[in-house]
C-alpha cells in the first residue's frame, strides 16, 4: 500500500466525510495541510479574516444545512482565536469539527513559538477533543471526530494536529464505521415511558407544546408539525426552535421566555400538561424556576439525558432522538383511536385567544423615527418569509425573533446559548456559501457588527450577496435597556461614541452602502437592496434610540409577571 503524508490523509478523510467547504486561516503549523488542500479541487477552502470568523462561518454552514461544519486554524493564536466560536457551538449543540494546528510533537510542552495547549484550553467547551500524536491514528481520529460531532446531542469536536504528524507518512485506511464502547447515544425512546406520555398528553385539559432547538438539530420539524396538528394543541417555540413549527400557523403562539409573547408565557404558566420537546429549560425561558409552570405535569423528550431534570423536575422523561420519539408518539396516539378532550380544549383555546387579543407585540406606528420592529416587519414581507436570517446578539436579535415569521427549519441562525456578539456576519457567510442561490440576510446592530466587521472583506473575496440590515440606535441597545430598567438610567459604557460612517465603510470594502433615516424610506430601501443580486448591501437603518424590547419578563420573575409596554 502506498503511503500518504498526514496532510494528504487529512484531505482524504474530509473527502470521505463528503466535506465540500471548510473555513479557515493558514499559519505555520498547518502549512503542510494548506499545501495538500492547494493540490486538490473537491474541497473549497474559504479564507476568513479572523479565526473567530472562520468558526462562526462553519457554524452558519452547519446551522443552515444540518451538516457538520468544518474549520481549520493554526496553532497558538489561531487556536485561541477559535475559542469563542467553539464555545458558541458547544452552547447551541452545533455539529462542528475544528482542526487546530499544533507545534511538532517533539516541541510540545517546550513553550515553543505559537504553542498553546489547545486540548486543555478547549476541554470545557467541546463535546470531545483529540491530540493526534501518531500519523497512524489520524484517519480513525478524524472519523471519530465527525461521528461524535454529528450523533446524539451534536456538538463541537476539536482535533489538534502537530505539524510533524501532518508530514509523517502512513497507509491510508478510512474506517467505514466507528464503534466506541464508551459512546453510545440513545436513539429510541423507552416504549413504556412513551406510552405513559401518550396517556398523559391525551388527558390534558390545558396542554401546551414547548419545542426547542433540538427539533431543528434532530431534523424533526415535519414530525413536530404532524404531532401538533394531530392534537390541535397550542405550541410555543424557543429562540433556538423558531421554524420548527410554522410561525404563521394558528396553533403557534410564537416564542416564549424573557421576550416571548404574552400568550405563550401565560399559556405555559396556566398549563396542566407541558410537552417539552428538544428544549432544555434555559433560564431565559423559565425565569424563576420556583414559579415555573406551577400547575403542570411535564413530559420531556431530549436526546441528552443530562438535560432532563437539570433545572426543572419532569414527570415523564424520555431519552431519545426527537424524530424517533415523535414518530412513536404519533403512532401510539393514532392506534389508540383516542382523541384529545374536546370541551376543555375549546375553553383553553378561548382563553388563549383572549391573551392573544392583547397584541403584545404592538408598537407605535405613528412615530417619525424609524421603529426597529417596523424594519423587521417589512423585511419579512419583502422576503416573503423565505430568507435565511442570521442575527447578532442584542435587541435586534429579539425583534428579529419576534417579527420575522419562520415557517421552515434551519432558516433562523443565531447565537442562543452563549449570546455571542459578532456572529451575525460570519454566520451569514457560512449560510450563503452553503446556499449560494438563496437570499441571506444578516440582522445586526451597530455594536454587534463591529465585533467581526473585518469579514466584510471575506464577503468581497467570494462575491457573497448578503444583505446586512443594521438597526443603528447608537447604543448597545440591550445593555441600555437593562440600565434603564434596573440601574435608574445610568448608561455606563452602553453609548457607542465615534461610530464609523457605515456607508463609506461598506464602500471601502467594495460593497453597496445605504443609510435610511425616515420610516417612509424603509420599504423602498429594502426592496432596492434585495433587488441587487450580485453584491453585498450594507443597510444602516438609523432607528429610534429609545425603543425597548417588549414584552419582557425581568430576570427572577415568573412567566405570568410580564412587563407589557
Amino acid at each position: 500500500m502506498t503511503e500518504l503524508t498526514g496532510a494528504e490523509i487529512f484531505v482524504r478523510c474530509l473527502k470521505a466525510e463528503d466535506v465540500d467547504l471548510i473555513f479557515g486561516y493558514p499559519g505555520g503549523a498547518v502549512l503542510h495541510i494548506y499545501d495538500a488542500l492547494y493540490k486538490q479541487k473537491d474541497i473549497s477552502h474559504i479564507l476568513t479574516r479572523h479565526e473567530q470568523g472562520a468558526v462562526h462561518a462553519a457554524e452558519g454552514y452547519a446551522k443552515s444545512t444540518g451538516r457538520v461544519g468544518v474549520a481549520l486554524v493554526t496553532s497558538g493564536p489561531g487556536a485561541t482565536n477559535a475559542v469563542t466560536g467553539i464555545a458558541d457551538a458547544y452552547m447551541d449543540s452545533v455539529p462542528l469539527v475544528v482542526f487546530t494546528g499544533q507545534v511538532p510533537t517533539y516541541l510540545i510542552g517546550n513553550d515553543a513559538f505559537q504553542e498553546s495547549d489547545s486540548v486543555g484550553i478547549t476541554r470545557p467547551i467541546v463535546k470531545h477533543n483529540f491530540l493526534v500524536k501518531d500519523v497512524a491514528d489520524l484517519a480513525e481520529t478524524v472519523k471519530k471526530a465527525f461521528y461524535i460531532a454529528a450523533s446524539g446531542r451534536p456538538g463541537p469536536v476539536v482535533v489538534d494536529l502537530p505539524k510533524d504528524v501532518t508530514a509523517a507518512k502512513a497507509a491510508f485506511k478510512y474506517p467505514k464505521s466507528i464503534r466506541m464502547r464508551s459512546y453510545n447515544p440513545t436513539i429510541k425512546g423507552h416504549p413504556g415511558q412513551i406510552k405513559r406520555a401518550a396517556e398523559l398528553i391525551l388527558q390534558a385539559e390545558r396542554p401546551i407544546i414547548y419545542a426547542g432547538g433540538g427539533v431543528i438539530l434532530g431534523g424533526a420539524a415535519k414530525e413536530l408539525t404532524e404531532f401538533t396538528r394531530m392534537l390541535g394543541y397550542p405550541i410555543t417555540n424557543t429562540l433556538m426552535g423558531l421554524g420548527g413549527y410554522p410561525a404563521t400557523d394558528r396553533q403557534s403562539l410564537g416564542m416564549l421566555g424573557m421576550h416571548g409573547t404574552y400568550e405563550a408565557n401565560m399559556a405555559m404558566h396556566q398549563a396542566d400538561v407541558v410537552i417539552a420537546i428538544g428544549a432544555r429549560f434555559d433560564d431565559r425561558v423559565t425565569g424563576n424556576v420556583d414559579k415555573f409552570c406551577p400547575h403542570a405535569k411535564i413530559v420531556h423528550v431530549d436526546v441528552d439525558p443530562a438535560s432532563i431534570s437539570k433545572t426543572v423536575r419532569v414527570d415523564i422523561p424520555i431519552v431519545g432522538q426527537v424524530k424517533d420519539v415523535l414518530e412513536d408518539l404519533i403512532g401510539i396516539i393514532r392506534e389508540s383511536g383516542k382523541k384529545p378532550k374536546a370541551a376543555p380544549l375549546k375553553a383553553w383555546w378561548k382563553q388563549i385567544e383572549e391573551w392573544r387579543g392583547l397584541d403584545c407585540l404592538k408598537y407605535d406606528r405613528g412615530s417619525e423615527l424609524i421603529k426597529p420592529q417596523f424594519v423587521l416587519e417589512k423585511l419579512y414581507e419583502i422576503t416573503g418569509g423565505d430568507a435565511y436570517v442570521t442575527s447578532d446578539v442584542g435587541q435586534h436579535q429579539m425583534w428579529a425573533a419576534q417579527f420575522y415569521k419562520f415557517d421552515k427549519p434551519n432558516r433562523w441562525i443565531n447565537s442562543g446559548g452563549l449570546g455571542t456578539m459578532g456572529v451575525g456576519l460570519p454566520f451569514a457567510i457560512g449560510t450563503q456559501m452553503a446556499h449560494p442561490d438563496e437570499q441571506v440576510v444578516c440582522v445586526t446592530g451597530e455594536a454587534s457588527i463591529q465585533m467581526c466587521i473585518q469579514e466584510l472583506s471575506t464577503c468581497l473575496q467570494y462575491h457573497l450577496p448578503i444583505k446586512v440590515v443594521t438597526l443603528n440606535n447608537r447604543y448597545m441597545g440591550m445593555v441600555r435597556q437593562w440600565q434603564e430598567f434596573f440601574y435608574q438610567g445610568r448608561y455606563a459604557m452602553s453609548y457607542m461614541d465615534a461610530l464609523p460612517d457605515f456607508v463609506k465603510l461598506a464602500e471601502a470594502y467594495g460593497h453597496v452602502g445605504m443609510r435610511i433615516e425616515r420610516p417612509g424610506d424603509v420599504e423602498g430601501a429594502l426592496r432596492e437592496a434585495m433587488a441587487i443580486k450580485d453584491r453585498l448591501v450594507f443597510m444602516d437603518f438609523v432607528t429610534d434610540d429609545t425603543e425597548n424590547v417588549y414584552p419582557m419578563i425581568p430576570a427572577g420573575a415568573g412567566q405570568n409577571e410580564m412587563i407589557l409596554v
Partner: protein
C-alpha cells in the same frame, strides 16, 4: 449526603482532567479522587467521593456519563460495598510516648514501616473515619506528616463493574 462513585474510563491521557474539569466547571464538590489502571490496560478505574443532594448527584452522574471517555459508572452507595483508604503517617515517637504510639498502631492494625530513634512511619488502611480516628488518637502534636490516598471502593459479592 456523601456519595461514592466508581468510574471505568478509557486509559487515555487527559481523561482525569476531563473529570476534574467537569467538577470545577460546574461547581461540584470533589472530596477525593483516586485513579489507576486496571487489569485491562486500556481501562482506568476511578473512585470519586462527592457530597450533594439527590438532584446534584443525579446531575453529576449524568454529566460524567456524557464524557466520551467514561465507559461505565456505578454509584457504590446504592449497593453494599467495601471502602478503603490508605494513609502513610509519620509521627514523633520518642521516650515515653514511643510505646504508646506502637500500641495505638497495633490496635488500629497499622504497620510500622520505617523507624528512626524519634520517628515512626506507619501504614494504615481502612475507611476514612478510621484514619481520622487514628490521627485523633495519636494527637496533633505528635503528627509530622500525613499522606492519604483518598477512598477506593468496590461492591460486595458478585456485583462487578466491567466494560
Amino acid at each position: 449526603m456523601r456519595h461514592i462513585i466508581s468510574i471505568l474510563m478509557e486509559n487515555e491521557s487527559g481523561a482525569l482532567s476531563r473529570v476534574a474539569g467537569l467538577f470545577s466547571a460546574r461547581g461540584y464538590n470533589i472530596e477525593s479522587l483516586t485513579v489507576a489502571p486496571t487489569n485491562d490496560p486500556t481501562l482506568s478505574r476511578m473512585t470519586l467521593v462527592t457530597t450533594g443532594n439527590e438532584q446534584i448527584v443525579e446531575q453529576i452522574v449524568k454529566q460524567l456519563n456524557k464524557l466520551i471517555d467514561v465507559v461505565k459508572l456505578m454509584e457504590l452507595n446504592e449497593y453494599r460495598y467495601i471502602e478503603r483508604e490508605m494513609m502513610l503517617i509519620k509521627v514523633h515517637a520518642a521516650e515515653a510516648g514511643r510505646e504508646e504510639i506502637k500500641r495505638l498502631s497495633d490496635i488500629f492494625r497499622g504497620r510500622i514501616i520505617d523507624v528512626t530513634s524519634e520517628v515512626y512511619t506507619i501504614e494504615l488502611t481502612g475507611t476514612g473515619e478510621k484514619l481520622d480516628a487514628f490521627m485523633e488518637a495519636v494527637g496533633e502534636r505528635h503528627i509530622l506528616e500525613v499522606v492519604r490516598s483518598g477512598a477506593m471502593g468496590i461492591a460486595r459479592g458478585d456485583r462487578v463493574l466491567r466494560a
